[in-house]
């Protein structure tokens, strides 16, 4: 085994840290408090090359491997970039752009991927529905064949970037009788008649990312916008959510590293009982637990990234374990970091409460912790 990063990855990590600290982090608090998407930061991410990092150069990306994407995601979190922006980036790049790149026709790839890789267009992915979250096969949005295309009817819920997206990857049933095999994937552009965004949701955390309802009312989508084959939607969705359990959770791990730095600095300068609180064992215990979490979680996230780089088509066990661990085991250290800051921990000044709020998405988005346990136990049962 070898757990080292290459020299290029190590220096890229430094570049991302520097870029994020200088160009993005100073804008975070204002946008988080206003709960608004920061277009300027988005543009900067695009200019820096993050948004198309792993997409091939000929499609406007940088051709990086998955491990490098995890390096970048982790560095964004570690620098103090909020979970909202990193979620918007993840949904855009991995759930939308990569899905089109991995399953699209050459024409579809040429048409959409370069625009997404630059950040000029924003992408989203709509799988979840008001009545179908964990139980994906229960989705009700229909895509009925009509003439040379399909007519979509239904709605999607909790869609990251939904109302600001220029293009959406949408999962719908082409065969309402069939369960998994009845699902197909479509590319739907903003402005397509019958496609609209409903309300944006007010959220506890990841507040700078837009989370929307999407509505399809007799929305006609041409046949050339079918992504992959008819009926292949569930398979595509499962490969897509694997990104959720890999690159999308990397910033959550980085954020916990950010908390370590915040906690150390605060604990050294805050005095109580005549000495810095850093000298109390209970404070050190919290800092140590943050570190233990980060190192454990980091190893898991790099493992799934490495597995993906080996070209293995599915890595369900590795992905589910990483997602479950990051989601569930980050709660206590994130909470500890907040409490370590006392009253200030509950206020916005030190950013730790934001990280706490943002981190609470980890056990929900991309499949809840229960769903990860279902996957893991199913694989164990089959062994």
């Amino acid at each position: 085994m070898d757990f080292s990063l290459t020299d290029e990855q190590t220096s890229f990590r430094e570049q991302v840290l520097r870029f994020a600290r200088g160009e993005i982090v100073p804008r975070v608090r204002e946008h988080d408090l206003a709960a608004e998407f920061d277009r300027e930061s988005w543009k900067r991410l695009g200019d820096f090359g993050i948004l198309g990092l792993h997409l091939p150069v000929e499609y406007g990306g940088s051709g990086a491997d998955v491990v490098t994407c995890v390096v970048a995601g982790e560095a964004l979190g570690q620098a103090g970039v909020d979970g909202g922006l990193t979620l918007s980036y993840g949904a855009h790049t991995f759930l939308c752009a990569d899905t089109i790149f991995s399953h699209g026709t050459e024409e579809q790839k040429r048409k959409y991927v370069p625009k997404l890789a630059s950040g000029g267009w924003i992408g989203c992915m709509g799988l979840t529905e008001p009545g179908a979250g964990s139980d994906v096969a229960a989705l009700k949005t229909r895509a009925d064949r009509r003439g040379a295309g399909y007519v979509l009817n239904g709605s999607k819920m909790f869609i990251t970037n939904g109302s600001i997206a220029d293009v959406a990857v949408i999962f719908a049933k082409t065969n309402p009788e069939g369960e998994h095999a009845g699902i197909s994937a479509f590319i739907v552009e903003r402005g397509t008649p019958g496609f609209s965004a409903g309300r944006n949701l007010h959220k506890m955390g990841v507040r700078t990312s837009v989370t929307s309802e999407l509505i399809f009312e007799d929305c006609v989508v041409p046949r050339e916008n079918l992504l992959g084959e008819e009926g292949a939607g569930f398979r595509i969705a499962m490969r897509t959510v694997e990104w959720d359990r890999c690159t999308l959770i990397a910033p959550f791990v980085g954020q916990m590293d950010f908390l370590i730095e915040r906690c150390c600095r605060y604990a050294k300068q805050r005095h109580q009982f005549g000495r810095p609180i850093a000298s109390f064992q209970a404070i050190k215990h919290k800092i140590a637990d943050l570190k233990i979490f980060v190192e454990a979680a980091r190893t898991l996230v790099y493992r799934i990234a490495w597995c993906k780089d080996q070209g293995r088509p599915v890595n369900h066990l590795e992905a589910a374990i990483a997602k479950l661990f990051v989601g569930d085991w980050s709660l206590q250290p994130a909470n500890d970091a907040m409490v370590l800051h006392g009253g200030y921990g509950y206020c916005h000044e030190y950013d730790v409460e934001r990280v706490f709020r943002d981190s609470r998405l980890a056990p929900i988005g991309g499949g809840t912790s229960d769903i990860q346990k279902m996957i893991i136990s199913k694989i164990m049962e089959g062994e």
């Binding site: 085994m1 070898d2 370590i260 570190k291 190192e295 490495w306 893991i376 049962e381």
Partner: protein, 375 residues
């Protein structure tokens, strides 16, 4: 980055597995009651087989010794069979590592060869009674060209069966290590300690009453705590590997039970309350295993992160071994709670691992101190 074993590593692991395979649970259990001379012979013969398989690497110099300790990760399959036997073998390797790292060339030539072949058994005495005890810390005084060692060490793994013991003691305010044999005048061992778990290990307290230590059997005195830290990190890494082996086996045992045991017309594996516990157990087991492998790799690669990673791995692995063992008992319930069941043993063994080596409380303080210095 590479998360799979290299061909060389796979070869070593397969050869170790072949040595471990005939060691059935029944056979390993007999070690608990075996007369000490028989146990000593048995341990030496297992060590020899492991050495031949490349699973008991005793370096001949600091670099190869550290490499050897890092490679203890491949012995995980032995920990899976018996945590006690694993710790027994590792105690010899850690003794050897101290000699290789801190001894001079002549000492290495004299002591290391039989150790590298697995034929002799080593032990390390660092822990002592609490400061409230009447007997003070172990200490060495000069006597002409030689030294005299006086003191008491407790909880010494292999204490009753060791051919060599490395005893940490103070010499004029510095750490030093005395290498002593059990038959030397003034050396005495208590009876084998009876423990709550880890019953396969032969542990005892060792007393040293004015033991004569020739100059060439003394390592140090050291200006720093390097030898002590080297040993503690090595022992902590071994304990983390042990905890991972224990967890892996425990998850397997609980999962097998859940597959076959039926209640309410179904295997209990079919119940979410059971299967979700198993999923959590596997998650903890794999996480601990990966983190420990990374810590071992960092040590072999002489990474500046190695110290922190070993501490993190140790705390994570031992605490979660306890958690996993508790969950396994919950799943195996009545069957698991019966004396002699694997899960009942695992539960007791896991507690022992959580106490052995650097206490988790002390490790946490060290982890935090290192980070606090950075910011």
């Amino acid at each position: 980055m590479n998360f799979s074993w290299t061909d060389h590593e796979t070869g070593v692991r397969e050869r170790i597995a072949a040595v471990v395979k005939p060691l059935s649970d029944e056979l390993i259990r007999t070690f608990e009651q075996m007369p000490l001379p028989d146990l000593k012979r048995t341990v030496a013969s297992i060590q020899e087989s492991l050495a031949e398989a490349g699973g008991f690497v005793v370096g001949s110099d600091p670099e190869s010794a550290t490499q050897g300790i890092a490679e203890s990760i491949h012995l995980g399959v032995l920990a899976r069979a018996s945590v006690s036997l694993f710790l027994t073998v590792r105690a010899t390797a850690e003794f050897a590592g101290l000699v290789a790292c801190f001894g001079d060339a002549s000492m290495r030539a004299k002591i290391l060869d039989p150790l590298a072949k697995g034929r002799t058994i080593g032990a390390v005495g660092l822990s002592e009674l609490g400061e409230e005890a009447e007997i003070g810390p172990a200490h060495v005084t000069r006597e002409g060209d030689s030294y005299r060692l006086t003191g008491r060490k407790c909880f010494v793994t292999n204490g009753p069966i060791a051919d060599w013991v490395a005893v940490f003691a103070h010499l004029e305010g510095h750490d030093a290590i005395c290498l002593v044999g059990p038959d030397q005048q003034g050396v005495s061992s208590s009876a084998r300690s009876e423990l709550m778990g880890l019953n396969g290990i032969a542990i005892s307290d060792l007393a040293f009453d004015e033991v004569l230590v020739p100059r060439d059997h003394l390592l140090g005195p050291f200006d720093s705590t390097a030898a002590r830290s080297w040993y503690q990190l090595s022992a902590d890494l071994s304990i983390a590997v042990a905890a991972c082996g224990l967890m892996e086996r425990t998850v397997h045992a609980a999962s097998e039970h859940a597959r076959h045991h039926r209640r309410g017309g179904k295997e209990i594996f079919a119940r979410q309350e059971v299967r979700f516990k198993l999923a959590e157990m596997l998650t903890l087991s794999q996480t601990a295993d990966l983190l420990t492998s990374r810590a071992a790799w960092a040590r072999a690669a002489q990474s500046p992160d190695a110290r922190a990673l070993i501490r993190c791995a140790k705390v994570f692995a031992v605490e979660n071994a306890e958690k996993v063992a508790g969950m396994a008992l919950q799943i195996t319930a009545g069957a698991g709670y019966r004396k002699g069941s694997f899960c009942e043993r695992a539960y007791r063994d896991a507690k022992g691992l959580a106490l052995a080596g650097t206490a988790v409380e002390v490790s946490r303080m060290a982890i935090a101190d290192e980070i606090l210095e950075r910011y």
